[in-house]
Each structure stands twice: as structure tokens, then as C-alpha cells.
């Protein structure tokens, strides 16, 4: 069974329609489907749990506030992930205005997380923050949401060719950064 976001887009459209028709449970289902993933995209974009939660709430708030004007000819997942990336970048820019740019990675590992997973998260998190935001977005969507080139193109609104170019370059930089850090 194909569980890709594109394959489930009909379900998303149906949930949107039912929610607009007054079925509250359909809204809950949309949150259930995307909440964790949206939060993790924001977390990997920003390297900060609190900022990621703020972005997640803003994204869903804006999504539900504008749902009545959502055009079903567009993929719902593209819409919500694009908002997530954009809101993350807006948050990053606003943070630059109030704190030093080198605020850095700030994600404390939960006690339940294994030591190796916590170490991997910290190493990767720091390296991700060294990438340019556009490059970071492509890597995050590819490796943390498992989107195809075409799906990433849809989300970011750039050609597939650009997605590939950014991804190949970003991965090389990410690898160099990890090697330099002794990963």
C-alpha cells in the first residue's frame, strides 16, 4: 500500500471538506495526521524544541483559519509543509534580530532516548544548522519526511531540477561538516 503523502491526498481533501461542513472530528484527524511530522520538520529546521512547538501551533492556527478558502486542486500536504518551512524561516529570521546568530542547536534529549540516538541527533542537528536555510529545507524534507524529489518540488515551489541540485550539494556539505566535527 502506498502511504506517500501524495497517495493520501484524496483523504486529506475529504477531511478538509468534512471539517468545513461542520464535522469537528475531521479537523482532529487532520491534526493527528500532520502534527508530529510538522513539529519534526520545524525542529530540524530550527534546532530548538520551543521554537518548533511555536511554529507548529502557528501553522495549524493559520491552516484552520484559512481552510475555508483552501483550493482543493492543490495538495494539502504541500500547503501545510510549505507553511511549516516558511514559518520556520520566518522564526529563524526574527530570532536573528533578538539574539546572536550563533544561538545554535538547543534540543535536550528526552530521558527515554538511547545514548546513540541522542548523540546522532546532536551531531546531525548541529551540522544541519550550518547549512543554508534553503538547502536545509531540502535535506529535512528528503531525509526526515521521506519526500520524493517531486513532492519536495511541490512543497517548496521550485523545479525538480533545483531540488536535486540543492540536495546533492547540501548532502556533500553536510557530510563535510560531520567529518570535520568528528562524526
Amino acid at each position: 500500500m502506498d502511504n506517500s503523502p501524495a497517495a493520501n491526498d484524496d483523504l486529506d481533501r475529504a477531511l478538509v471538506r468534512r471539517f468545513l461542513d461542520g464535522e469537528r472530528a475531521a479537523g482532529d484527524e487532520l491534526v493527528n495526521r500532520f502534527h508530529r511530522s510538522v513539529f519534526n520538520v520545524a525542529l530540524r529546521m530550527l534546532g530548538n524544541v520551543q521554537d518548533a512547538e511555536d511554529v507548529t501551533q502557528t501553522v495549524f492556527g493559520n491552516a484552520f483559519a484559512g481552510l475555508d478558502s483552501y483550493d482543493p486542486k492543490y495538495r494539502f500536504f504541500s500547503w501545510i509543509y510549505r507553511m511549516t518551512v516558511n514559518e520556520s524561516l520566518n522564526t529563524q529570521n526574527s530570532r536573528r534580530n533578538v539574539v546572536s546568530f550563533d544561538a545554535g542547536f538547543d534540543v535536550a534529549a528526552p530521558s527515554a532516548m538511547s545514548q546513540s540516538a541522542a548523540e546522532a541527533e546532536e551531531r546531525v542537528g548541529r551540522a544541519l544548522l550550518e547549512l543554508k536555510p534553503d538547502d536545509r529545507a531540502v535535506v529535512v524534507l528528503k531525509h526526515f519526511v521521506s519526500f520524493s524529489y517531486e513532492e519536495i518540488s511541490d512543497v517548496l515551489g521550485v523545479p525538480v531540477k533545483t531540488v536535486k541540485s540543492r540536495l546533492f550539494t547540501a548532502r556533500e556539505r553536510l557530510r563535510e561538516s560531520l567529518v570535520a566535527a568528528g562524526a
Partner: protein, 392 residues
């Protein structure tokens, strides 16, 4: 060495994006070419490391906050719903205005970029003018010109340099001052006129300006061909002298939107389709800055300006808009502060400055590595002035 095609083939294989035929080709390449094997191994190792990073669970509080917001929306009162409908109507109208003008925001951004390049030019003028034309020391009484220029010491101290100090001068400085085009530039009337301009002097004393001068993206931008083409465009200069444009540059709603990625996405697609149907439009429809800008009379004045529309149709403009350095500059705080500076605006409207901006030698200077080094490093800066003293 692997070709670009082979690199892409292996990356696609690693991502599972190859067709069966391409996959077979990739596997054959990896089996026979050590470099291809290394690349594939590196990609797989990186993928494995990224795969070790666990997905996190958002806090229950976050989920509850979302549910609460959703409830409020679904229970909105009739009056609240009417208010929301009014906002949507206004926003839809405003968005249509944007569709009509296509890349309005992009144009504004471009203008900023041009201003930025112009500022770089002023930095060069300041440095060379100070060294070769006996620029008035009183301008730099604080002791330095500023961080962006590498902390150029004031003229009084500079004049006390001995012959021994001169021998410390660097090859970069000598190369720059041996360039006939640079020497001719310094001797032009427009250059000398600019040296005597009050607005220029005010700008030189501004700390924000110097912060901007230290920015890498600024240098990248000002050395691009598209930027130079745009700087030589008459309509662009006309726009730069337009009051509505300057008012908009000082508008808070405009600045907020300039930092909003959804707005940039909308502008990038505005010329191709009905922007009101765009998913990004819906994201923006809740943004107060967007509403403020759409209802601003200055915005409408600019929309009616012919020079603005000419610039919008200019290829160089579009090239500049696609330049990464330009986008970096747009996110720079010092740049935004400079945009609100009166002296800077006065300088932009100065004829002598305009003439210099279309001078080829001036652009060559801006694009030279020697110049970049000189204006960033205090030791080179001093050496440059010493050499200039010898020429005089």
C-alpha cells in the same frame, strides 16, 4: 573523475529515484568505478546517520493548544464571521492588485539591492578619495572611518607616516593603484564632486553603513553583471528618485513582509496565475502586514509609476532577483537600517553619484579582489593610504 551526469545518477540511486534502466546503469558504474563506489558509500553512510535521528513527539500541551484554536474557529460568532469575510474580501482585492503588477515586491527588493551596490561604490570612493584627494580629516574625527572599512585612521595620524612605513605596503594595494582605469576614475569630475557632497559625508559617518560594508553577500552582489546592467538603467535611476518609492522603503508593513517567505513565494508566482488561488495566498491572508501594505496609498502611487513598470520588465532586474547574494542582503539588518537613512537617500538622488555608478572603471574596482581585501583589513587599508601618499 565522475561527470555531473554520473554524480546525479548515483545520488538518484541512493534516493531510490532511478528507473530500472538507470538503476542498472548506476549499479554497473558503482561496480566498476572506485570513485562511484566511494560516493555511493558516502551517501549511504550519511543516510544511515540521518536515519538514526529519532522523530520527536510534540508535547501534549502543543496538541491541546491546536485543538483549542480549532474550537474557537469553529464556534466563531456571526459577527466574527462577518469580520473575517470582510478581511478576506479586502485581501482578495489586494491580492488581485498584486497579480496585476506581477513582481512588485521583487522590484522593491531589487531596488534595495541596487541601493546596496551603490553603497559599496560609495565605500570605494571614500577609501580612494580619502587617500588620494586629501579628504577632509574632520569627517573621521572619531578616529576611524568605521569597521566596514577596516577602521581607517584619521588623516592627521596618516600624514605622520614615515618613509619606513611606506615600505610595508602590500602587493594588493600597489596593484590597485597601478591600474590606469582606477587613477582616471579618481580624476573624474563626478568623483571629485561626490567628494564634496554633504550627504556623502553624512553617510560616511554612519555606523550602519559600515556594518553593511562588511557583508560578504554585498560584495558578491555588487560584482555581478546583472547588477551592473541594472545600475546603468535610466528607468532604475528614475525610480530611485521617486518619492513614493522612498516612502515605501520606510514603511513598517513593507519591511515585515520583506522578511516573510510566504510573501516572496506569492510574488514569485503572481505573474503566472490568479494569486488568490495560490495556497501561499491563504497563508498570507492572515498576515496583518500584508493587509497594511495593501491599503497604503504610497503603494498605489508606486503602482502607477511608469519607471517602476519599466524596471519590472528589465532582464537585468530579473537576473538580480535570482541572485543568492541579493537574498542574503535582503535579510541583513544593517541594510534595512540604511534604507531609512536620509543621507543615503540624498546621495542616491545626486547627479555625480549617478554618473559614477555608470562608470566602467568604478565597477571594475568594485569587483576586484584587491579592493575587497583593502577595505576589510586595517593593515592593508593603511598600506593603501601610504602608497597613495607616495603617488601624491
Amino acid at each position: 573523475m565522475l561527470t555531473q551526469y554520473q554524480i546525479e545518477l548515483i545520488n538518484r540511486e541512493s534516493d531510490g529515484e532511478n528507473t530500472p534502466e538507470a538503476s542498472a546503469e548506476a549499479r554497473a558504474l558503482i561496480a566498476t568505478e572506485p570513485e562511484a563506489m566511494t560516493l555511493m558509500t558516502n551517501l549511504q553512510s550519511l543516510g544511515a546517520l540521518l536515519g538514526e535521528v529519532p522523530n520527536r513527539e510534540p508535547s501534549p500541551k502543543s496538541r491541546q493548544a491546536i485543538y483549542s484554536a480549532m474550537t474557537l474557529n469553529s464556534r466563531a460568532s456571526p459577527s466574527a464571521q462577518n469580520a473575517q469575510a470582510t478581511v478576506q474580501t479586502i485581501t482578495r482585492w489586494a491580492s488581485q492588485q498584486l497579480a496585476d503588477i506581477s513582481n512588485f515586491m521583487g522590484e522593491l527588493m531589487l531596488t534595495k539591492k541596487v541601493l546596496l551596490g551603490a553603497t559599496t561604490a560609495v565605500a570605494a570612493i571614500a577609501l580612494i578619495g580619502y587617500a588620494l584627494n586629501g579628504y577632509q580629516p574632520s569627517l573621521f574625527d572619531a578616529g576611524t572611518i568605521g569597521n566596514g572599512l577596516g577602521g581607517v585612521e584619521k588623516a592627521g595620524r596618516y600624514n605622520k607616516k614615515t618613509e619606513a612605513t611606506v615600505t610595508l605596503s602590500s602587493p594588493e594595494v600597489v596593484a590597485l593603484l597601478q591600474d590606469d582605469k582606477i587613477i582616471k576614475l579618481i580624476k573624474t569630475k563626478s568623483f571629485k564632486d561626490l567628494m564634496a557632497n554633504d550627504a556623502f559625508h553624512d553617510l560616511m559617518a554612519n555606523g550602519v553603513y559600515h556594518d553593511l560594508m562588511a557583508n560578504d553577500a554585498l560584495h558578491d552582489l555588487s560584482s555581478s553583471d546583472a547588477f551592473h546592467d541594472l545600475m546603468g538603467n535610466d528607468q532604475f535611476h528614475e525610480l530611485m528618485a521617486n518619492d513614493a518609492f522612498h516612502d515605501l522603503m520606510a514603511n513598517d508593513a513593507f519591511h515585515e513582509l520583506m522578511g516573510n517567505n510566504a510573501f516572496h513565494d506569492l510574488m514569485a508566482n503572481a505573474g503566472n496565475k490568479d494569486v488568490t488561488a495560490s495556497p501561499v495566498y491563504h497563508e498570507l491572508s492572515n498576515n496583518q502586514a500584508f493587509h497594511d501594505l495593501m491599503s497604503n496609498s504610497v503603494f498605489h502611487d508606486l503602482m502607477a509609476n511608469d519607471a517602476f513598470h519599466d524596471v519590472m520588465a528589465n532582464d537585468a532586474f530579473h537576473d538580480v532577483m535570482a541572485n543568492d547574494a541579493f537574498h542574503d542582503i535582503m535579510a541583513n539588518d544593517a541594510f534595512h537600517d540604511l534604507m531609512a537613512n536620509d543621507a543615503f537617500h540624498d546621495l542616491m538622488a545626486n547627479d555625480a553619484f549617478d554618473q559614477l555608478m555608470s562608470n566602467e572603471a568604478f565597477h571594475e574596482l568594485m569587483a576586484s579582489d584587491a579592493f575587497l581585501q583593502i577595505y576589510r583589513e586595517q593593515s592593508l587599508n593603511q598600506a593603501f593610504m601610504n602608497e597613495a601618499s607616495r603617488i601624491n
